[in-house]
Symmetry: C2
Amino acid sequence: MRKNTFIIKQRAFLKLYMLHEAEKGRLYGLQILENLQNYFKDLGYKPTKSEVYKSLHELLKDGYVTREPIIKEGAEMQTLYIYRIGDREKVKAYKDTVKADLDRSIALLQRALKDNYSQKRG
Amino acid sequence: MRKNTFIIKQRAFLKLYMLHEAEKGRLYGLQILENLQNYFKDLGYKPTKSEVYKSLHELLKDGYVTREPIIKEGAEMQTLYIYRIGDREKVKAYKDTVKADLDRSIALLQRALKDNYSQKRG
DNA sequence: ATATGAACATTATGTTCATAC
DNA sequence: GTATGAACATAATGTTCATAT
């Protein structure tokens, strides 16, 4: 059953984009963060490091993504983690539920727009 | 300056509807709550008493609405508070800023829809 | 300095308790 | 029981600290 909740949470929104990035492959945490920060800059939204990591960790724990440690080339020997998409059936089912929440959220906000900002006639 | 925030908060959303109800006049807290709960039922959203009261109190404190105690007819002698719109100029300015946040939020969610659920061709 | 991650702090919101009629 | 409101508890998110290279 649904809870009587307001609109979609940031966490769910980010996880959607994490899956998107994982489908493309080849990206690690801080890269994803930076990509998203740039991508949403025009809309005044700057996701934080902690939300991005938490999103990735949840997806990993639940099997939606896998990851692989990579030793960076060069003198630094830095370990980072490349994320890849996990069980595609599971991911699809998950994305379906998120889509429903997204649609619902948009409907709610558009109703507010209509109710509170439409020109009154007469 | 804007903060780098995600989407509009429930509180702001509710305050918009509170102003809407106050413009119509003649309504008190629990009536507004019940109206909104019914109105949003189809979208799976059920605002709580506490959020509605907090919204009204904030609007009152900031001068966007006024209120007047009313003694209910009948044997109960119940005191309730009818809310009315306050300074119309101030209210208009406030609503303009909320509209910007609403527009931005809708844009963000629609972008997520487009990026994550559009059919890939080929 | 870059990368990952946890700990800690603060907001935002929901649930329960108190008071009055 | 209805209405208002505060107190309290939890969820969601943001900021700072720790570790390693």
